[in-house]
């Protein structure tokens, strides 16, 4: 088996494991918990494979359809905004010289280090005064703001790595810088852009504090926030909580497994350069 073959096999193995083992583990635990009450006869009652029923009931009880939809909407918006803003910004920082470029860039870098925890108090009151709490904007805008510092940094590194001759050749042919960017550079940069998209998606999907603070209304909750509420309400019902946890983790895990090669390479390269 080639290296990539092994990798693919493991990917599928992990996916399969996830889909079978998680409900399986719950089942074992439930059997143990209920055993004293129900008697030993019930111990082996569960089916050999997971119980899809647990997922369905957790999905319904926790309203995960709605939660997932919120999370998808927020993540997609953040990814789209970040990508749209960071490609031109990275292009400017990476290929052009303009006054103040270096200081502005350092300020941007600081944004990669400052944690949400430090910003959350002022953010909340600003959004409350603007009447934006309990809206998707309260999640999308700050998250995009923070993602931009990483995205710009990341795209700048990519645009710097592209040989200058390439852009020059296009320019000689009479293309404007805007055209050079979209017609020449973006198509070669697809792997770099993909990595950025995956990372930003993951961070947004997993973000918890922002949602916890900004959202109190049921209908705008995101999946991690929903999971936390679900756990405090159904904490004793381990199978359901585990099923819910798997549901919340699944999209990110799937994206990670499908893109892991580029993802890891990108992440390593990015962090080393930082």
């Amino acid at each position: 088996m080639t290296a990539s073959g092994v990798e693919r096999a493991v990917t599928y193995a992990v996916l399969a494991l996830f889909s079978v083992l998680c409900p399986g583990a719950d089942r074992g635990d439930r059997a143990d918990r209920d055993a004293p009450a129900r008697g030993a006869a019930d111990r082996g009652r569960a089916a050999p494979l997971g119980q899809p029923g647990t997922f369905r009931s957790a999905w319904d009880a926790g309203g995960f359809g709605r939660l997932m939809a919120s999370s998808v909407l927020v993540s997609a918006s953040v990814v789209a905004l970040t990508t749209a803003l960071c490609i031109p910004a990275g292009y400017a920082f990476g290929t052009m010289r303009f006054p103040g470029a270096t200081p502005i860039f350092y300020v941007m870098l600081a944004g990669m280090v400052v944690p949400f925890e430090s910003l959350i108090v002022p953010l909340y009151y600003t959004f409350r005064d603007a009447g934006l709490t309990d809206t998707y904007w309260a999640l999308i805008l700050p998250q995009t703001g923070l993602s931009i510092s990483f995205g710009t940094f990341w795209m700048r590194a990519f645009f710097r790595s592209v040989p200058v001759e390439l852009a020059d050749a296009a320019r000689v042919d009479g293309a404007s810088s805007w055209r050079v960017l979209w017609r020449v550079l973006v198509p070669i940069g697809r792997p770099a852009i993909l990595t950025m998209v995956v990372l930003v998606f993951m961070w947004t999907w997993n973000e918890f504090l922002l949602a916890l603070v900004m959202i109190s209304d049921q209908s705008h909750r995101t999946a991690p926030l929903g999971l936390s509420t679900f756990q405090s309400r159904y904490g004793v019902d381990v199978p359901s909580v585990s099923a819910a946890a798997v549901l919340v983790a699944a999209p990110v895990v799937v994206v990670y497994l499908l893109t892991q090669r580029q993802f890891l390479r990108g992440m390593l390269a990015g962090s080393i350069r930082g």
Binding site: R33, P115, E117, T144, S149, N206, P224, A245
Partner: protein, 270 residues
């Protein structure tokens, strides 16, 4: 966009931190009073002390384990490295809330850890790991180690592969044993990775909000209260907004300072 949602809140946060404000009525100007109060506040001190313990679990331990394993594995061409990499990196990808939920179950008085202890005859050690004053913080710390060890190992392994083999040969010609080789070749070769791993894990340890909120909410008592949790409770539960903003500012500055120090330390070494 960036200016609006990152720079503006920083300035705004600094401004709020100068008032005593409950978030509803208008605030009272207290100047640097919130900072002075925060520094003398026993709860804040305890929280930062807990952060120190967490740094041990989140950063020091995983980095040490990662380095040791890298040193051991650096010459062996292990088959299926890519596969192992995929799996050990996985915790880094999962939502902290999911991780917290899973570990809460593991630590449960009737959870797998206690069952395993009972099964091997150590039933006397069974207890509520997250509910006990003396074990709650280490228990949370172990979750952190579980998350960040994979990151460290992946970083170091990738870094070690970039070290030119000629350096190892040179070390061997000079008669270096495995231990000396590690300190003379592998460790210096991993300087950049070391800086990155330390920065990322220390930041993770100082933040640590999601995990703690889901597993213990800072309890029992204040046994696992960390600064980020204090920010949350003060700003949104007990209405000490100015104080929360001050803690936030201290935390932000601390992280910035630590990252600069780590980068300097690692880069200065020859």
């Amino acid at each position: 966009m960036f200016a609006l949602f990152v720079i503006a809140p920083i300035a705004d946060g600094a401004w709020i931190s100068l008032f005593r404000w409950d978030g509803v009525t208008s605030g009272t100007w207290v100047g640097l009073g919130n900072y002075r109060a925060a520094i003398h506040d026993a709860a804040v001190r305890t929280a930062f002390q807990h952060s120190l313990v967490l740094i041990l679990f989140y950063a020091v331990l995983p980095v040490a384990v990662g380095l040791a394993l890298t040193g051991l594995l650096v010459h062996s061409r292990v088959r299926g490295v890519a596969a192992v990499r995929t799996v050990i990196f996985l915790p880094q990808v999962l939502a902290a809330v999911v991780v917290g939920v899973a570990w809460r179950w593991l630590y449960d008085p009737e959870g797998p850890i206690n069952q395993a202890l009972a099964a091997v005859g150590l039933g006397s050690l069974r207890h509520s790991w997250l509910g006990d004053l003396s074990t709650a913080l280490p228990a949370v710390g172990v979750i952190g180690s579980w998350i960040t060890t994979g990151l460290c190992l992946v970083l170091f392994m990738a870094g070690a592969q970039r070290i030119p083999p000629a350096r190892y040969e040179a070390a061997r010609v000079d008669g270096a044993g495995p231990v000396r080789e590690f300190f003379a070749v592998t460790l210096p070769g991993l300087r950049n990775e070391l800086a990155v791993a330390l920065s990322l894990t220390v930041i993770a340890a100082l933040r640590a909000f999601d995990i703690i909120y889901v597993t213990t909410k800072g309890g029992p008592g204040d046994a696992t209260t960390v600064p980020s949790l204090l920010i949350y409770t003060r700003a949104f539960v007990t209405g000490q907004v100015g104080s929360a903003a001050a803690i936030g500012a201290i935390m932000g500055l601390l992280i910035l300072a630590l990252v600069v120090i780590i980068t300097r330390l690692v880069e200065d070494r020859p």
